[in-house]
């Protein structure tokens, strides 16, 4: 029975507490004597602060204190970025937790009120008298990089935080030799991640002991502890960070934010616990955004459809300050993926990281890879349109041949394994691609416009080898560690350094234990999210938790299996090499009836009454796992849309995902990740996007104004898979968290353009709202 638990879609073990309302998220926690903080945020996108008068606020009912930028001086160091991209002339202007002289985006913290209740704190914000002298504003990342653009930081000319280049092969030759060159400007708009749980923090400073406890909605509590120490100067050993139940993140809960530092500061000043929880509208201003790329791109190809090269100039908006992983997203996680699933002889990309007067940008689901996939897959479709070749044919023509191990691509990275043709064939076969094309022609004659869009993606996941992390400027490691502890009764606690928040590793890691040591999943508890009782780890993001943290669990379990064999041999009076293991039992070759279960072994090791000479008591192992390479999941997705030319409405009619994430531990969970990912990638094509006015006000400033995907706007998503093992992972796992998002934006956009092409429309900026589509169709009718 236990052997089948691994790789089966068992129900999640985290669900009972969630479906009964018994789970405890940060804002659900109430400490004795706790006060509440509310933060005053800049209403201007760029301004000098000329005066702040907090006296009226201080005398409001329940108010305990009001702090401004002056008060934090000498107490809070600037909020750091943790990704210092080398060879890019990176500028790292100071990011004070509370602005003192200048505000640089709508939402920049200006003051904080601490009061007995949240209502009182919010009320008191209204009584802070802050005066500003507005400055010129720039939002578009390309505009921000031009001469004469408003200067956001004094020492950063043209707002260019870095210029990073990816290059391989002879790009000049590629474009000289080309029969066909296609070009486009892709505006991958700014997105608001919208994890359903708003961010929240509770800081509890105990002055007598110097201990700081921070409950935080974090995807990576160990990094949060590290950076809390850097910002507050409290020793890392005196800081405990707890990420309790966390309600989604999608990258937005990776960064260490000013708000956590401010909350800590308030507690340290007042000596009482302080809670801060953002409102949703505050989340839209103060929690990181994603994407914000202006991509000027071109592809060189032969007339028979062979890709010769890709050239890009990308202006990546970073917001007003560098967020924790901000500089790494449009560079390492983006430009290195320009080869996609294809053999491309030459690439050249110039990426400019640009400050703009908007919320800082950081990792949002897919982080850099949806932006890269969009470039490659959009250009492939443009080559198809120009050459008159079928988009599926062109993909097959250029795919890297199947490989089980290590394939170098022109950007300088090494894919682990892939079979790109297989997944596309599976997708086209399942959806009857040729039949769909026939149907499309038939409907066209009836005046109906359906579009078929393909995206064949490969992504870089399982971050990652720490040596590479260091080489590319990430100010941390990317390994994970785990402790597997058997209690005397044979029950198991698995403690991990990563920090799942919806991905289901409390279940999948128990399934790993079932697979490795034959224990029942219900006998395993997976503990995460508290720096006080988990070993060091770098967190949950980048589709890395199962790929890296899961591998650490495997390695720890295998150490215990070795120890169990030695102990079983001793107890069964046999030689260790004669001990066999099967389904939780250790026995002498040929005598399976005389066995010791893993529970027997755990008991005997814990009692230590009769141990082999030199063996330590206890039954616990830890492992540190540093992956030898990244993992490279891949897949092909196909979207079918219909455009109504009279209204401009685009309906997503059908969506098929075929993904290869390596070995699947729990296919039900894998499928759920694909569903959610696909929908998050669909949103930006059809509905979503942060809109600012010319003064930098966020017009899509609430959930009322920012159009998230809703249940009634979506078809059922069909999910198929393929399995190509990662050769370097102990279980052959690759990762699936981001795949859906990486693929679906391109697949649906390509489908929409496929539908619009006969109407004379070749490109529209996302989101493809009915008005924009209708205007484009009518402009084209009127001669373009």
């Amino acid at each position: 029975m236990t052997t089948r638990v691994f790789s089966s879609g068992i129900r999640r073990r985290e669900d009972p507490r969630l479906i009964t309302g018994r789970a405890s998220y940060t804002d659900d926690i109430k400490l004795q004597g706790m006060a509440n903080a509310a933060i005053l945020r800049s209403p201007y996108a760029h301004a000098k602060i000329t005066n702040i008068d907090t006296s009226a606020a201080e005398s409001q009912p329940g108010v305990l204190a009001v702090f401004t930028g002056k008060d934090i001086e000498g107490h809070l160091n600037p909020i750091p970025t943790a990704w210092l991209i080398p060879d890019s002339d990176l500028k790292t202007p100071d990011h004070p937790a509370i602005a003192k002289d200048t505000v640089r985006y709508v939402g920049d913290a200006v003051a904080v009120v601490v009061a007995e209740s949240r209502y009182q704190a919010e009320d008191a914000l209204e009584h802070i008298d802050a005066d500003y002298e507005p400055l010129d504003v720039v939002i578009n990342p390309k505009a921000a990089a031009q001469d004469g653009a408003p200067q956001i930081h004094d020492d950063v000319p043209n707002n260019i935080a870095f210029h990073w280049v990816v290059a391989g092969g002879d790009i000049e030759e590629a474009f000289e030799k080309a029969d066909v060159v296609v070009k486009d400007t892709i505006n991958l708009q700014r997105l608001i991640p919208n994890a359903m749980e708003p961010r929240s923090a509770i800081a509890q400073w105990v002055g007598a002991t110097g201990d700081l406890t921070l409950w935080s909605t974090s995807q990576n509590p160990h990094i949060a502890r590290f950076l809390t120490s850097v910002v507050t100067d409290v020793g890392e050993h005196k800081i405990r960070v707890i990420a309790p139940e966390v309600g989604g993140g999608f990258g937005s809960k990776i960064p260490y934010y000013a708000d956590e530092a401010i909350t800590s500061f308030c507690s340290m000043q007042l000596g009482i616990p302080v809670k801060w929880t953002e409102t949703r509208s505050e989340n839209y201003q103060a929690t990181i955004h994603g994407r914000d790329h202006v991509e000027e791109v071109e592809m060189a190809a032969t007339k028979d459809g062979s890709i010769l090269g890709i050239r890009t100039t990308v202006y990546a908006g970073l917001g007003a300050y560098l967020s924790t992983a901000g500089p790494g997203i449009p560079t390492i996680l983006h430009g290195l993926m320009y080869s996609g699933s294809y053999d491309i002889p030459a690439v050249h990309g110039d990426v400019y990281g640009v400050f703009n007067n908007a919320t800082p940008v950081d990792a949002y689901r897919g982080a850099g890879r949806p932006e890269a996939t969009m470039i490659v897959e959009r250009l492939v479709d443009l080559v198809a349109a120009k050459t008159g070749l079928d988009p599926v044919y062109i993909r097959h023509r250029n795919f890297i041949d199947p490989f089980d191990e290590d394939h170098d691509v022109v950007t300088g990275i090494t894919y682990d394994s892939g079979n790109y043709a297989a997944v596309l064939s599976k997708a086209t076969g399942h959806i009857d691609y040729d039949g769909l094309r026939e149907e499309q022609k038939k409907l066209h004659k009836e005046g109906r416009y359906i579009g078929i869009g393909v995206c064949s993606y490969v992504e870089i996941c399982g971050l990652g080898p720490s040596q590479v992390a260091g080489a590319v400027g990430f100010q941390g490691g990317l390994w994970e560690s785990a402790i597997v502890r058997f209690h005397p009764t044979g029950k198991v606690s698995v403690m991990i350094g990563s920090s799942p928040h919806g991905q289901g590793e409390e279940t999948t890691f128990a399934q790993i234990m079932a697979g490795e040591l034959g224990v029942d999943v219900d006998d395993v508890d997976v503990i995460h999210g508290d720096t006080a009782n988990t070993p060091m780890g770098w967190g949950t993001y980048g589709s890395r938790t199962t790929a890296v943290s899961g591998a650490a669990v495997v390695m720890a379990a295998r150490k215990l299996k070795d120890k169990a064999k030695t102990l079983a041999a001793h107890l069964l009076e046999a030689a260790a090499e004669d001990i066999l293991y099967e389904d939780g039992k250790f026995f002498v070759k040929g005598s399976p009836d005389q066995h010791k279960t893993i529970q027997d072994i755990a008991l005997m090791a814990n009692l230590a009454w009769d141990m082999p000479e030199g063996m330590e008591p206890g039954f616990e192992a830890n492992a540190f796992y540093d992956p030898p390479n990244f993992t490279y999941p891949f897949g092909s997705h196909i979207a079918v849309v219909e455009v109504d030319p009279t209204t401009g409405q685009i309906e997503l009619q059908r969506y098929l995902a075929v993904d290869d994430c390596g070995v699947q531990i729990n296919p039900m969970i894998v499928e759920g990740q694909v569903h959610g990912g696909v929908v998050q990638g669909a949103g930006p094509v059809l509905w979503e996007g942060a809109v600012h006015d010319e003064d930098g006000q966020l017009l899509t400033g609430s959930m009322l104004d920012y159009a998230l995907p809703r249940a009634d706007k979506l078809p059922d998503i069909e999910v198929l898979s393929n399995t190509t093992e990662s050769p370097h992972h102990p279980l052959g796992v690759k990762g699936i968290g981001e795949a859906g998002t990486i693929a679906s934006t391109s697949a649906i956009y390509n489908a929409a353009m496929d539908a619009l092409r006969p109407l004379g429309v070749n490109g529209i900026d996302m989101p493809l709202t009915p008005e924009k589509v209708w205007r484009a169709i009518n402009q084209s009718k009127n001669g373009g």
């Binding site: 309302g21 309600g247 919806g502 959610g676 929908v679 249940a711």
Partner: protein, 156 residues
């Protein structure tokens, strides 16, 4: 000036004096200390705060506590005793209808309202019935399947 209210939540009566402006969701979370009901937005869009008041599904973030005076409320904690699960809870669990779980209490209560008014909904009706609740993890698909299963087991 505070106003006295008496509200029954999950069968237990809470009497308190509250500010007239207090939102019902805050009464539930702060005064009654039932934190299963969530606040996910501030514009009545996300539905994480959905409860039933006198048997009818409402969003508790756009209801004042004083409006609920004398009413009987059920929150996610009242769906079952937490040991024996309600068929809705079972269905969400069986169908992997949740990931991070934050929208789930609201989804469960919205589903309860949906099935009250339409015990045997089509898939399209389920999608339409849940358009007032936002989930960012599941893409809604397994939620829809869970509602279908719940409708079956609840005998709709």
């Amino acid at each position: 000036m505070n106003v006295p209210v008496e509200i029954t939540i999950n069968g237990k009566t809470f009497s308190d004096e509250v500010e007239p402006r207090q939102l019902l969701v805050h009464f539930i979370r702060e005064n009654a200390v039932l934190t299963g009901t969530k606040v996910g937005c501030d514009t009545s869009q996300c539905g994480s705060c959905t409860i039933t008041m006198d048997g009818i599904g409402i969003k508790s973030c756009t209801t004042l506590t004083v409006q609920a005076d004398g009413s009987s409320i059920t929150t996610v904690e009242g769906l079952s005793n937490g040991i024996e699960l309600h068929p809705l809870q079972e269905a969400f669990w069986n169908k992997h209808g949740l990931q991070c779980g934050f929208c789930t209490p609201g989804m469960l209560m919205a589903t309860s309202e949906l099935l009250r008014t339409n015990p045997d909904p089509t898939r399209e009706e389920i999608r339409a019935g849940l358009e007032g609740n936002i989930c960012r993890c599941t893409g809604y698909q397994n939620i829809v399947l869970a509602v279908e299963e719940a409708a079956r087991t609840m005998g709709g």
